[in-house]
Symmetry: C2
Subunit: 432 residues, 2 copies
């Protein structure tokens, strides 16, 4: 503890000079004077590694700091902090392990890696006494992991409800505002760069499960397994659902929700009807927001851009600054992993919530009575019903149930689906 080094500057190496890496480099250079004033000494962008060091990223970095060899960063004894912005779980994982073992403090935006391999990487960082920070992995530039670990650390977290995927929030917002259907909006989003050519990670909810697993692990002090999170994407959301939800006072959002139920973590990602009065209801376009219920602060929400080059760079540079402070004070691994308890993941079957159900039925006498009879038989009580005549002989019926256990909703839907008067159960969306 007595070998405290007096640093004159902190050296940072960035591995991965893509969107996030270049945003990070931009901020480190652009705000260097401000950053120095807040840290006490300069933070120096010492090296950047990428397989492509010729493409112009619009950031004016000296040519001599560019390298194609990541090891030049990991093995440089003068570099204290390594930023990984490569992405994925292959090379990124390898270099992070190497960096930790070389005694480097690591900052990353890699949600997939943290969600899938955090259980190995975090204890390793603790073992080597280095910082392993990942504020940028959830909510882009929004400070959320920092607040959970510090300002909110005196709270028992009761529930996390997040809009954590900008692509799907953009698509749902556009569907609502333009009245265009999912496929059409998706292709526009792809053309604008808001959605990937292969959109499955976003639209099928995988990305959101990674982020929810990360937030939940911190919030409940237990490793939340992303594979135990119920997942349902937005492909099945129709324009009609958005319209009927609107009529009933709701907007449809892809939410990532978790809470603790009898010692288990209940995690779920699915389209959700959100009351218009809820703070999350007005979070539109590519913006993200995380709403947190806790026994101290009661409720709080964190809003901002969930992605983007400098926005995500902002979170990375924030982590760099915190780690630099720790390096200077010989206090790295200041807030190590606190997943000290093992709480299993609850099944979606343990959930009880309100449901929105849209179906197409034959316009025959007794139809409503037969369907509602099945709900009644299964102890599912109803909050409201809307019936619309869509085409001759058929009606669209929207049911809004009161809170009911998942199993009883599923059983009711199975039985209703078997009725001859019911043409099709078009959609079922959970309600916040």
């Amino acid at each position: 503890m007595c070998d405290k080094i007096h640093y004159h500057k902190i050296n940072v190496g960035i591995i991965g000079f893509g969107t996030v890496g270049s945003g990070t480099a931009h901020l480190l250079l652009e705000n260097s004077a401000i950053i120095k004033s807040r840290v006490g000494i300069p933070i120096n962008l010492a090296k950047i590694a990428d397989i492509d060091i010729t493409t112009d990223r619009g950031v004016n970095v000296p040519k001599e700091i560019l390298t194609t060899n990541a090891d030049e960063i990991i093995e440089d004894p003068n570099i204290q902090i390594v930023v990984e912005t490569v992405g994925g779980c292959g090379f990124a994982k390898d270099i992070i392990i190497k960096a930790i073992k070389a005694g480097k403090n690591v900052v990353t935006a890699n949600k997939e890696l943290i969600a899938k391999h955090g259980k190995e990487l975090l204890p390793l960082a603790k073992e080597y006494g280095v910082d392993f920070m990942f504020e940028a992995s959830v909510g882009g530039g929004i400070p959320i992991i920092g607040p959970l670990k510090t300002s909110l650390a005196g709270n028992k977290i009761l529930e996390i409800i997040g809009i954590v995927n900008g692509t799907t929030n953009y698509i749902l917002t556009e569907m609502k505002e333009k009245g265009a259907d999912f496929e059409k909006v998706l292709s526009v989003a792809q053309a604008m760069g808001y959605a990937e050519a292969n959109p499955t990670a976003d639209v099928d909810g995988f990305d959101a499960t990674y982020k929810l697993a990360i937030l939940s692990s911190i919030a409940y002090n237990s490793r939340a397994d992303y594979e135990g999170i119920y997942r349902e994407g937005i492909r099945n959301i129709g324009i009609e659902d958005i319209k009927y939800a609107e009529e009933m006072g709701y907007v449809i959002k892809l939410l990532a929700i978790s809470n603790e139920v009898e010692g288990k973590i209940q995690g779920r990602v699915h389209p959700t009807l959100v009351p218009k009065s809820h703070p999350l209801a007005s979070v539109n376009g590519v913006m993200n927001a995380i709403y947190i219920k806790a026994n101290g602060v009661q409720e709080s929400m964190y809003f901002g851009p969930g992605a983007g080059s400098v926005a995500t760079g902002s979170a990375i540079v924030g982590d760099i600054i915190e780690s630099a402070r720790n390096v200077i004070a010989n206090n790295t691994s200041r807030i190590p992993c606190k997943c000290i308890s093992y709480k299993p993941m609850a099944s979606i079957d343990d959930l009880s919530c309100k449901n929105y159900i849209r179906m197409k039925a034959k316009d025959l006498p007794g139809c409503i009575s037969r369907i509602s009879g099945i709900f009644a038989k299964n102890d599912v009580s109803l909050e409201s019903i809307i019936q619309k005549f869509t085409e001759s002989g058929y009606a669209t019926i929207i049911w809004l149930t009161h809170e009911a256990p998942e199993k009883l909703i599923n059983k009711s839907l199975e039985e209703i689906d078997a009725l001859d008067v019911v043409e099709k159960i078009s959609n079922r969306i959970r309600v916040l």
Copy 2:
């Protein structure tokens, strides 16, 4: 640096057992196991001092830790962290100075004290190498000072726009929703405990200037003088203003706004027309929110309860936890005051913004032409005009100007007021 002590627990003393003090005590006790897991060792509520130790605060604290003598806390060598929840600038200031000089780390919610005496207290804490933390002084339980100092520290902050006073936000929300006037809503708010018997600190904007001074000092790394912040309360807001604003697509909020203009800090607290699409527009009732523009994160917003016993306690306990981590690591004063530059406060005269102006004029030919002629002569261009006939012979005219310098707006209003056709300039409200 080698005299690192191995702590088995961290002892906390609370001075002031009122609303915030008891909320803090409640959370420390209620969440002790969670707090221990996040800090590594227990945080022990060792003593509470108050002049009144007989009233039941609804918190089950052992009688033997209560004392009427604050010195018993300050002079206790086993106490590492002192929480000041007395309020005001008299006794509170004295005990904080004593505590700092005794080597205690200090946590407070006292915005008035930080705004008025931070310039003495913060350097003193730095000199004695102790933590001096005040997350609870702005936005109650909302993490905002922490994020500014850590996650957002890589940003140049461009603008702060806050709803930081719950009382006035409650009043404005009620006026809008119930259509009741200021005086009536104020008396209801007083009866419900949302407003003080002497409401001036809230409704005249003093409280908001303290909070804005604190946030601005951190954001711009310069001591922002609260006396240099332009201040205007909500007493002059009429029901008509709220209605006309609504018609034009705005809501009226008491905002605390600051930014940097040519090396100066422009700070202002005044009622403001906020476009309905802005994230702050839907922050209602006693809730607070702080919206931050910065060159990294672009935009972000922090929302939650701006007051309340356990909500404010949440912020205090967060600070206690951070300070405890610093104590354990022998790293107190980890993020000392960074007000390293001196930026003077800009005058409101340097402002240029849109304005809403409501006036009562005689319904005579040429009236609009004469008034608009004065705006034109003063280079104030107009975005929209609404004219309503209120009583026989008189009209209410609402002008929405384009962005114009404060001086030209004031000069125009002076000249318009002198017109014989103008009965009264009823209100002028700046637009975000």
